[in-house]
C-alpha cells in the first residue's frame, strides 16, 4: 500500500510540472506581446515595460519559467489587470465557494445516483428501473446551463420558492448544486446499476443466498461494498468534471466562484487571472485524482499488488 502511494505521489510530480508549463506557455502563445497581455489591453507603455521587467519577459524562456514557478511557490499569482488586486487574494475568496458548490453537487449526485442505481439493479426491468434509467440518460445528455435556466425559470421565476441567483443563505445553494449534480447523478446511477448487476451475478452472492441469508443482507452487506469500487473512481472523475461544469453553472446563477471568474477574465482579457484560475483548477483536479487513486487502492487490495510489482 505505502509503496503504491509513494509511486503514485512520484508520478504526480511530472504532471504538476507539465500543468505549470502548459499554463506558462498559454500566455506566451497568445498573439502579440505577452507583456501587453499581462499588463492589460488598456495599460500605458510605462506599465507594459514595468510588467516586462516584473516577469523578466526579456530573459530566455527557461529563466522566465523559473521565475514563474518561484512566484507560484511563494503564492504570488500576479495582479488582475481589471481590478488591480492580487489574483491570489481573489482566488482565496472565490475558490472555497466553488469547492462548496462542487462538494454539495457531488454529495447530491452520490446520494441520488447510488440509491437509484442500487434499487434499479435489485428491481431490474421494473417500472422504477426503466424510469430512473431514462432520467439518468436525460441527466447525462442535458446541457448543464440549459438545466440551470429551466430550474431557475420554474423554481425562482414561476414558483418563487428559491432565489434565482447570488449567494448568502443555504437557499441560494439549492438550484446551483442540484443543477450541477444532475448529470453526475445520472452517470453514477448507471455505473452503480451495472456494477451491482455484475456483482450480483458472482458465485459468492449465490453462495450467500444459498446459505439462506436475508436478501437485504446479501445486497447491502455482501454486494454493495464490492459494487462501490468502480463508483468511487467515477466519483473522483466527476469531481473534476464538476469543477469544469461550475464554469457554466456559476455563470447562470451569478455564483461568485472561480468558474465565473475564469469566464469573466477571458471576456475581459484579464490574462493574469485566467492563468492563475486555470492553474488552480487543474492543480485541484490533479490532487483530487491522487486522493481517489489512493482510496481506490485502499478499497481494492489488488491495485496495491499491481502497483507494487
Amino acid at each position: 500500500m505505502y509503496r503504491y502511494v509513494i509511486r503514485r505521489l512520484l508520478l504526480t510530480i511530472p504532471v504538476l510540472v507539465g500543468v505549470s508549463l502548459l499554463v506558462f506557455f498559454m500566455i506566451r502563445l497568445l498573439p502579440g506581446d505577452p507583456a501587453r497581455a499581462l499588463a492589460g489591453m488598456q495599460a500605458s507603455p510605462e506599465f507594459i515595460e514595468q510588467t516586462r521587467a516584473r516577469y523578466y519577459l526579456d530573459e530566455p524562456l527557461p529563466v522566465q519559467y523559473g521565475i514563474f514557478v518561484r512566484d507560484i511557490l511563494r503564492g504570488d499569482l500576479g495582479q488582475s489587470t481589471f481590478s488591480r488586486r492580487p489574483v491570489a487574494l481573489e482566488l482565496r475568496i472565490r475558490f472555497p465557494r466553488t469547492l462548496q458548490l462542487a462538494v454539495t453537487a457531488l454529495a447530491i449526485a452520490t446520494v441520488v445516483g447510488v440509491s437509484a442505481g442500487v434499487v434499479s439493479a435489485t428491481k431490474r426491468y421494473s417500472l422504477f428501473d426503466n424510469i430512473s434509467m431514462l432520467l439518468a440518460l436525460i441527466g447525462v445528455a442535458a446541457p448543464v446551463f440549459w438545466l440551470a435556466l429551466m430550474l431557475q425559470l420554474l423554481f425562482a421565476v414561476n414558483l418563487g420558492w428559491l432565489p434565482s441567483s447570488g449567494i448568502g443563505t443555504w437557499r441560494h445553494m439549492v438550484l446551483p448544486s442540484v443543477t450541477l449534480g444532475m448529470a453526475s447523478a445520472g452517470l453514477i446511477a448507471r455505473i452503480t446499476r451495472s456494477s451491482m448487476l455484475d456483482v450480483l451475478r458472482q458465485d459468492y452472492i449465490m453462495t450467500a443466498r444459498a446459505k439462506g441469508l436475508v436478501e437485504q443482507i446479501v445486497v447491502y452487506k455482501h454486494a454493495f461494498k464490492n459494487a462501490l469500487i468502480p463508483v468511487v473512481t467515477v466519483m473522483g472523475l466527476q469531481f473534476g468534471i464538476l469543477l469544469g461544469g461550475a464554469v457554466l453553472t456559476e455563470t447562470v446563477f451569478a455564483w461568485p466562484g472561480v468558474g465565473r471568474l475564469l469566464v469573466d477574465s477571458i471576456l475581459r482579457r484579464d490574462y493574469p487571472v485566467v492563468q492563475a484560475t486555470v492553474l488552480v483548477l487543474a492543480l485541484s483536479f490533479v490532487l483530487i485524482n491522487l486522493i481517489v487513486d489512493i482510496i481506490y487502492a485502499y478499497l481494492d487490495p489488488r491495485i496495491t499488488y499491481d502497483g507494487a510489482s
Partner: protein, 300 residues
C-alpha cells in the same frame, strides 16, 4: 484464434484485407444493433436531425439570419412553429441550420481527436519503454484539465469562432483516444498474429496500422460516437459563454445564451434550443451504448 491468425496473415501476405471473413461478423453486429430498441431510438433521433440539417432550406421558408423586427419575440404559431427571437428570426429555421453546425463540430472534433490521439496511443502502447513513459506523462498532463476547461484554454489562445471550437473540442478529446488505443494495443500486441507478423519481418509501422489498429476499431468507433455527443455539449457550452460561435451564426449554445435575456417574456428561446441539444446528445449516446453492446461478444 486460428481463424483470426489465418485471416490476418492472409491479409499480410496478400496485402489485402479480410472483408469476406468479417462479413458475417459485421452482419451479426448490425443485427444486434438493430435489435436494441434504445439504439434504434437513437438512430431515429439522429436520422431526423440529419435529414432536417440537410434539407433545411426546403423545410422552412425563412433563412436563419432573416430578420423581421415587426414579428419579434412571438410564441410558437403556424407561421413560426417554434416562435421568433428578439430580431424576428424564425427559431425553427435557426435550429435546423444550427444542427448542421453542431453535427459538423461533433464530426470534425472527432476526426481531430482520432487523427492525433490514435497514433499517439498506438505508438505508445506498441513500443513501450521511454516512448510510452514520455507520452503517458504528456497524456496525464492533458487529462489534468477537465475537458471543457481544456477547450476553454485552447479557445483563449486561438480566439473565438466555430473553427476554433472544433479545434478546441478535438484537442480536448486527444487524451481520451490516446489512452483508449494504448490499452487496446497493449493487449493486441501479445496476440499470436502480431508475433507471427514480426517473425515474417513485416515493418513495425505496417504491423501497427495494418494489423493491430483494424482490430482496435470497435472501441474507437464506440468512443467516437460518445465523443461526438460530448463535443456537441462542450461546443454548446462555449457558445453559451460567448467563447464559441459568434452572432449571427445559428449555433445552438449561442442561440440559448441570447434567449436567456428574454426568458421571462419568451422562454421558448431557451427551452427549444436546449431540447434540441439534449435530443442530439441523447441520440448519439444511445447509439454509442448500442454499438458498445453489439461490438462486445460477451453481451451478444
Amino acid at each position: 484464434m486460428s481463424t483470426e491468425l489465418e485471416s490476418d496473415l492472409t491479409g499480410a501476405v496478400e496485402g489485402g484485407e479480410h472483408d469476406e471473413q468479417h462479413e458475417p461478423e459485421l452482419k451479426a453486429i448490425a443485427r444486434h444493433l438493430f435489435k436494441n430498441r434504445a439504439a434504434v431510438v437513437g438512430m431515429v433521433i439522429i436520422g431526423i436531425f440529419l435529414l432536417g440539417a440537410i434539407f433545411a432550406p426546403l423545410l422552412t421558408p425563412y433563412g436563419p439570419t432573416d430578420t423581421a423586427l415587426g414579428s419579434s419575440l412571438q410564441g410558437p404559431s403556424l407561421d413560426h412553429p417554434l416562435g421568433t427571437d428578439e430580431l424576428g428570426r424564425d427559431l425553427f429555421s435557426r435550429l435546423l441550420f444550427g444542427a448542421r453546425i453542431s453535427v459538423m463540430i461533433g464530426l470534425i472534433s472527432v476526426v481531430i481527436g482520432v487523427v492525433i490521439g490514435v497514433p499517439i496511443g498506438a505508438i505508445s502502447g506498441y513500443y513501450g519503454g521511454a516512448i510510452d513513459l514520455f507520452t503517458q506523462r504528456f497524456i496525464d498532463i492533458m487529462i489534468a484539465f477537465p475537458g471543457i476547461l481544456l477547450a476553454i484554454i485552447v479557445v483563449t489562445v486561438l480566439g473565438v469562432g466555430v473553427e476554433n471550437v472544433m479545434i478546441a473540442t478535438g484537442l480536448a478529446s486527444v487524451p481520451l483516444y490516446a489512452r483508449l488505443v494504448r490499452g487496446s494495443v497493449l493487449s493486441a500486441k501479445e496476440q499470436t498474429y502480431v508475433h507471427a507478423a514480426k517473425a515474417a519481418g513485416i515493418r513495425n509501422s505496417s504491423i501497427i496500422f495494418r494489423h493491430i489498429l483494424p482490430n482496435c476499431l470497435g472501441p474507437i468507433i464506440v468512443q467516437s460516437t460518445f465523443q461526438i455527443a460530448t463535443s456537441i455539449l462542450w461546443a454548446a457550452g462555449l457558445g453559451f459563454l460567448g467563447l464559441g460561435a459568434q452572432a449571427p451564426t445559428p449555433e445552438w449554445g449561442a442561440i440559448l445564451s441570447r434567449g436567456r435575456g428574454y426568458m421571462r417574456v419568451a422562454h421558448h428561446l431557451t427551452t427549444f434550443p436546449g431540447v434540441a441539444i439534449l435530443l442530439m446528445v441523447l441520440g448519439f449516446n444511445l447509439i454509442g451504448d448500442g454499438l458498445r453492446d453489439a461490438l462486445d461478444p460477451k453481451t451478444r
